[in-house]
């Protein structure tokens, strides 16, 4: 079922891109590469690893392994409106509704044989303990070997060394399972691709800060977190360049993503993954554009292609969800300033302890720089209890409120 879904998706997007090859939509180019990743995951021809969010996907790509964090499956099921049956499957098995919807959907999908059986699993202790637990459960379910990357909270010398050594051990673990040693030339090429993509992404994000912003609310949804899956490949470079070039053209012409940009918003954590009209409503009714997403940011330095392990470790440690809440608040404050946002929206994903746990501190931190925050009570995966009317009313009130205030950046 999933294989044919991704096959159809790939051919459909390819056809649409071929219609106007000179003016390729960056979002479609991105969607094509994500669909191709799905094709490989379900293709039953390549080594597959289910992973945690901060696994080094470029290193795995260099070793010929198609890898993906499991939350991707939860988001995909929600985006296609299929999550309900899988959430129910997990709930019937005892995984309660207070747990993360992403993880419940994944466990349901595994139990209903919707997830390809991996060759092995790579768990990461960051960003969340729930994610680590689901990887342990999946390893038990699939009866496949599990490797755990303990991601330290801080980039101390000892912490970086510890994680770098683990990544080296991980490479040996992968080689043992695929029968293929890590080729230093392939690794160097993968890291080079990562660094090229990194530079292009950094440029794209800087262009997105322009007033008016070249982005639309849908264009950047889930972008940064999913791009991590493409790192190390030429596809990552292609996607990043397409975004950078499209933004550069718009900025040069003085065009915004929206014809009329009135309000600029920062979206905290992840998007609501199932179909919903909220982003369009904000744009259409208020000229309010989500110009920045928390994870659409480069928080790491370029990686040394000749000795990448320390750089890979630093990158994993650097994500805003890792470490102390203060670091995350600092990151959000910097984003709010550089994107000149009028307000921030925090969809407090029910079941996400690491993300929503600190919502009060995040609210205070952004308020301190003049940016009001709207906390939404929502499960970003489970549409069964989606209170669209209630959320719409709250978003409308929030947009009206910030429209009546001067921008904190003038």
């Amino acid at each position: 079922m999933m294989k044919s879904y991704f096959d159809d998706l790939v051919s459909g997007i390819e056809a649409r891109l071929a219609e106007d090859p000179e003016n390729r939509s960056p979002r479609k180019v991105y969607a094509l590469e994500v669909a191709r990743l799905g094709q490989r995951l379900y293709g039953e021809t390549e080594s597959v690893a289910w992973c945690g969010v901060t696994a080094p996907f470029d290193l795995l790509a260099a070793m010929g392994v198609t890898s993906c964090f499991v939350e991707f499956v939860g988001a995909m099921l929600a985006a296609t409106g299929m999550e309900g049956a899988f959430l129910e499957e997990a709930e019937h098995a005892g995984y309660g509704g207070d747990t993360c919807g992403y993880h419940r959907a994944v466990l349901g999908a595994a139990r209903k044989d919707l997830m390809p059986v991996p060759d092995f699993l790579i768990a990461t202790s960051s960003p969340c303990t729930g994610g680590l637990a689901v990887m342990e459960n999946l390893a038990r379910h699939f009866e496949k070997d599990l490797f755990v990357l303990n991601v330290p909270q801080e980039a101390s010398d000892a912490g970086v060394r510890y994680l770098a050594d683990q990544i080296r051990d991980m490479a040996a673990f992968v080689a043992d399972h695929t029968g293929q040693r890590l080729d230093p030339a392939r690794l160097r090429q993968a890291i080079d691709n990562t660094n090229r993509a990194r530079t292009l992404l950094e440029e794209a994000y800087q262009l997105a800060q322009h007033v008016p912003s070249p982005v639309t609310g849908r264009m950047m949804g889930n972008f940064g977190v999913v791009m991590a899956l493409l790192l190390g490949t030429e596809a990552a470079v292609t996607v990043a360049r397409t975004y950078r070039d499209a933004f550069a053209r718009r900025v040069e012409k003085g065009e915004g993503g929206l014809a009329r940009e009135n309000l600029r918003l920062l979206w905290i954590q992840n998007r609501i993954q199932f179909k919903n009209p909220l982003i369009e409503m904000l744009e259409k009714d208020f000229g309010a554009v989500v110009v920045a997403d928390e994870l659409n940011a480069i928080t790491w330095e370029a990686i040394d292609p000749d000795d990448p392990y320390e750089g890979l470790a630093r990158r994993a440690i650097s994500i805003p969800f890792n470490g102390q809440g203060r670091r995350r608040v600092d990151h959000l404050q910097k984003m709010a300033a550089s994107f000149k946002v009028n307000g921030a929206i925090n969809p407090c994903n029910w079941g996400c302890r690491q993300g929503t746990g600190a919502r009060g501190l995040i609210g205070e931190g952004l308020k301190a720089v003049g940016v009001p925050v709207l906390n939404l009570e929502v499960d970003c995966i489970d549409s069964r209890n989606f209170a669209e009317g209630q959320l719409r009313t709250r978003l409308e009130a929030f947009a009206e409120m910030i429209a009546g205030r001067p921008s904190p950046w003038h």
């Binding site: 303990t129 342990e136 683990q166 102390q324 929503t356 600190a358």
Partner: protein, 351 residues
Amino acid sequence: MSSSTRGRIGFSCAYTPLPAIAAAGFVPHRILPLSASPDQAGRYLHDNLCPHVKRLVDRAMDDDLPPMAGMVVVNSCDAMRRLADAWRHVRPKEPVFLLDLPATGDAAAVAFFATEIERLAQALDEWGGRALETGALKHAADRYNQLGALFATLRQQMVQGRLPGGRSRLQVLYNRATEMGPAAAADMLAAELDATGQDCGGDGVPIYLFGNVLADPEAFALIEAGGARVVGDDFCTGSRLFSPVEISGGGEGFKGLARSLLKRPPCARTFMADKPGALVDHVLAGAAASAARGVIGHTLKFCDPYLARLPIVRDALRDAGIPLLLLEGDCSLGSIGQQRTRIEAFIEMLR
């Protein structure tokens, strides 16, 4: 400076290296989620966060704490990390140390955790403590091992029906011991042992308990009043904190302590990569070793590490033919009181 004048160091997790704190001259003081402080933590923490953590923040916001020289929070789970964030916010004048804890117990994890304990030792030094030496650390570990042995004797007496007050009384002692230094706690337990040993009778159904945080002695009293005789248990707020610590000489102090802590009976957040789901075996072994007729699991709401593993524990106990009752609490007696009927029915079924 005597240890008593260096002050108290707060902690909240069974992975806290208590010997390191005691050896630095401080009194480790567990901040228990037992308080009449009003609910205020929601100002900083989401409603769906661990009630244990929120009760501790309630206490901090209400200033329902003894004077403390600092707070040590272990990065054992997302909720504990948020506790460190909130603690810094509500008690800005009090230093907070976030101790990083690997999820696994392999050799590399032990080595890293040892460097973290060493970093803690440096912080304790800066907070006015003694510089740590292996000799002092070993001495403190010996004290805690002595305490652990006394608790083991008390547990044995409880199982034999010779501890007046049963598991509820034992919890009173656990709670007191976690709020004082090891020497004072050992004195307290020795005095308690002098007063025990008489047959208290009791024909309750032998039950094994497991879970995360259950600190209220009244909760155990309620379970025992329902007809249970607790013959074994494993809680963060119970025996787990007093399992043996092995520290050899030769500069291996921190590493020995790290190894001992990571080898402790595991909280669900710690696991072995080569044996996923090992918590199941631990619960099964505990139930079997104590010849329990049934198992009661008590976990707190919103605890991801346990919520994610309870289904496989339930399946394994069912396959082993061991009845299981799962209870969910929120650190209030009311939450377990509401489940009195379920507890009584479960025990009745086992008779």
